[in-house]
Symmetry: C2
């Protein structure tokens, strides 16, 4: 409907032009002004306009940070090579499929037996809508995405201290939490609890709003009736024909709702990182690592275990063991982007400033254990109308998550049967894989007692503290370490710059690894041009 | 892991056995006992064990109710024929694709120009997880489903009376609503507003819960800081490298949040009918009508306009005009399932009890207008990270909805540009289609001012009050008409029974049509066996 000759440039085109002219910080200002920045620090792919002629970069690690650095530096004209410990690209971005084998520290080896198409994502498993860098490269590299269901009202919440340990629907608990909060606030207003805080007119407006928001009756009570059932569901839902009339359901007493601690589950769902719309790659998170890997396929040396990083004599020289031949080799380049996780890096002979080495040693890694349980049928869909989402428990497994992919298909399907944190994760990591699986099966059966064990086929379990390529899950910064070490950790150290989720404030997320990488190579490129 | 010989029968198998033995009401009791019933009145496909030998049924209307009746009665052994006014199956279940033509009452004809794969769903467009009947038959008939995104935190809320008419993110408004409600309730507790309602211990527990749920600071205040930004987002979100540290955002003053009336939007999203996980068929809602149509393809006569229904002489005789030949013809059967919408049926010469005819005349139909706007690119995804979901406005269009299918693909994509209700829908219906489209484009551009009109390619608009096959959107029962007419409307009237969403308490939903149909044919079958 518009004349092509008069076409308004797209926001993206304008931003790109600003980026080329003014660089990243000017670009961020422009994005903020154009109302775009609030979701992301991503300002488009880096504008590395012209490599230093003949310059080379050695990238350590073929995770997302390392592969992005390789891709973008290569586009800019640098000669880039990656050394990677594993025999595959992706690092923690990884899916385990049937036929795969995984050996953890300690030697336990699992041969995965999942049916074709099924998988466990041991690492990242969901992508927020505001992780624009990752979404940009998924689109650019042809990774098909599908919605990841985080919040499912039909899923369950279970804790030992509520309802005698019997799981409840999130739907009921969340409805009853909101409804009671609304009723109590309306009551407190009537009891003059807000007389000093609000005008009489605002108090009246608020009461009417609470009635609508909380599904209260006309007397501002949260009680059994068609109003509250419209949110929490019915004892007998509306139907067709003779018995079509619905029968309302009875709200749960507020004391029990409190015992369930459902507010914590609600809050977790409402966090910016878990809000709709989330995504996952079709076919497993590892599709992203594979897609990045295709972009840098000619530049990666797999099975290379780095033992020494030297930057004397105007170059970076990296010593590594070629695992296939068990020979010691070296690689040399003008610069180095090092994405090796800090727990591993701290064990490598690194020629860097005292400050950087202190920073690397200062940041511990978290642990986590994930267990995948393959089930013969999708009984959670067929029996209970649970499609994707998470059921929460205060047991050690912390949650089970139903697959967001392949919904409505026949089985088998893989449930995420455990996602442990803190002490529980170390307890799980201390068990042999088959025991982790058995324990997850036992604990998770609280949600689906008649079916869980009966439908179980086989599992897989990854304990990140036993991961030979990370020695943990992800970097655990705190306020003190941020203050003392963060800027040193991310600064270019002569010819070396670190990148990865550990060099970001988006810790444990792929987005952090990518944003860190873009920032690191942008500064390294500047350094190279100045040298 | 279990021995096949010891296999526990599935819940479905048990229910099926109960249904065969005891019928629908016993089955429902059993479902309730087994904790299954709360989401649905669907107890599996009807058990019509053995048709009355040689008996025939005439079904009027090839919408979902009519086709389901045909499918199930046919399976039971009845000879079934459908008469359908349109030249396609599905009724209100329908998608408009590029190349389609639609002529409404008044003669306005639209030739749809959408790109291949794009569509508008003029009627139903989303499926709740608890609409088990529909989901069952989608699975049985091979309809591929994908998640429908209802609630999108990144989508917008706009009203003339708030923020000078400028749209706000749902995320910000919803976070600030909850946060302020939490702070106010905590404050009211401190002001002794709940001293008579709760024990001191419970009040303290509640305050701690409110802090967590509302993202309050340690002093129970909802203020600018990393805590509230964790939910509402940041001024500068966490990033990587040197400028990785996040900058918190400033909550909106509560007075403005109140002006936005966001609580109504939150409540709408939280309703049982809109809770996660919702679905849509891949490729348009009309895929369901087509799939049902394939099951009954040999039994439908299209282009048949019913003018008279007679049930004298021990049979049902239907007179209809064959629209292709413009000839008057008759069809005859032992029984009739009539799914013709009431506004049309009331104009047909119907041989039925006075009570049934009064019921048919007593129920008015709502109107609604839907407009599809095809856009050159998916700018809402690229520019604003909005993936699916709905932006709400108090303008006549009431909302715009971004496509849940094909996310992350290149354009063009079709936005639902208007979904009007009440008086606004009659105003829209009074315009010629091209004016409805222009008006929707104008009103919707409030959400995306720089892009909406510039990216527009073409549209389609369906006004249900001008639909020649329904004369409206769906049946509008009220408490009085339910009491006076509902049971009469659904009762078997000699040899005729009505079915459709109008014969249910799940009005305006496909599920209501299907549940009504199952109930109607179950009773008709019983009647036939008793005859």
């Amino acid at each position: 409907m518009t004349d092509a000759g008069e076409r308004v440039p797209t926001r993206r085109e304008v931003l790109h032009a600003i980026g080329v002219m003014g660089g990243a910080s000017v670009l961020y200002q422009a994005m903020a002004t154009m109302g775009h920045a609030a979701e992301t620090q991503f300002a488009g792919p880096p504008n590395l306009s012209g490599a230093r002629p003949g310059a080379s970069v050695l990238v350590l690690g073929a995770g997302l940070a390392g592969m992005l650095a390789t891709y973008e530096l290569g586009k800019a004209g640098y000669t880039v090579q990656i050394l990677e410990y594993n025999m595959r690209p992706g690092g923690r971005n990884w899916s385990l499929y049937g036929g795969d084998t995984y050996t953890e520290l300690g030697g336990a080896t699992q041969k995965i037996g999942f049916a074709p198409g099924n998988y466990l994502n041991p690492g990242p498993w969901r992508i927020p809508y505001h992780h624009r860098t990752l979404l940009h490269y998924c689109k650019a590299f042809g990774v098909a995405l599908e919605p990841f269901i985080q919040l499912n009202h039909q899923a369950l919440v279970q804790s030992a201290g509520a309802f005698g340990g019997k799981p409840q629907r999130y739907r009921d608990l969340a409805a009853d939490w909101d409804g009671n909060v609304a009723e109590l606030l309306a009551k407190a207003i009537d009891n003059k609890g807000l007389d000093t805080a609000m005008t009489a007119e605002d108090r009246d407006r608020l009461k009417l709003a609470l009635r609508e928001w909380g599904f209260l009756d006309k007397d501002l009570r949260y009680v059994r009736g068609l109003k509250s059932s419209r949110r929490r569901g019915y004892d007998r839902p509306p139907g067709g024909g003779v018995n079509g009339a619905p029968i309302p359901s009875e709200p749960i007493p507020f004391k029990d709702v409190m015992d369930s601690k459902v507010w914590a589950t609600i809050a977790q769902h409402m966090e910016n990182d878990h809000q709709t719309t989330m995504f996952q790659p079709v076919g497993g998170m590892g599709m992203i690592g594979k897609a990045f890997g295709r972009q840098v396929a000619d530049k990666v040396r797999f099975g290379a275990k780095v033992t020494k990083i030297d930057q004397s004599g105007g170059a970076v020289t990296v010593t590594y063991t070629d695992l296939a031949s068990n020979t010691v080799q070296t690689a040399k380049a003008d610069y180095c982007v090092c994405t090796i996780p800090l727990g591993i890096l701290s064990q490598i002979d690194l020629d860097a400033s005292t400050g950087l080495r202190a920073a690397i040693a200062a940041v511990p890694y978290s642990n986590s254990v994930k267990v995948g349980l393959e089930m013969r049928s999708r009984f959670w869909e067929e029996d209970e109308a649970i499609y994707g989402g998470i059921s929460f428990t205060d047991r050690a497994i912390s949650m089970i998550s139903y697959p967001s992919g392949g919904m409505h298909s026949a089985g088998p399907g893989v449930i995420l049967g455990a996602y442990t944190f803190g002490p529980a994760s170390y307890k799980f990591a201390g068990m042999p894989p088959e025991q982790r699986i058995a324990e997850a099966l036992e604990q998770g059966s609280v949600f689906h007692p008649g079916r869980y064990k009966e439908q179980f086929i086989g599992g897989a379990a990854v304990a990140w503290s036993r991961s030979p390529f990370t020695l943990g899950c992800c970097a655990q910064w705190n306020e003190d370490t941020r203050k003392e070490h963060y800027q040193t950790l991310v600064a270019v150290d002569d010819r070396i710059v670190l990148a990865g989720e550990h060099a970001s404030y988006v810790g444990c997320w792929m987005e952090g690894a990518l944003l860190s990488s873009i920032d690191a190579i942008t500064r390294l490129h500047k350094r190279a041009l100045e040298a």
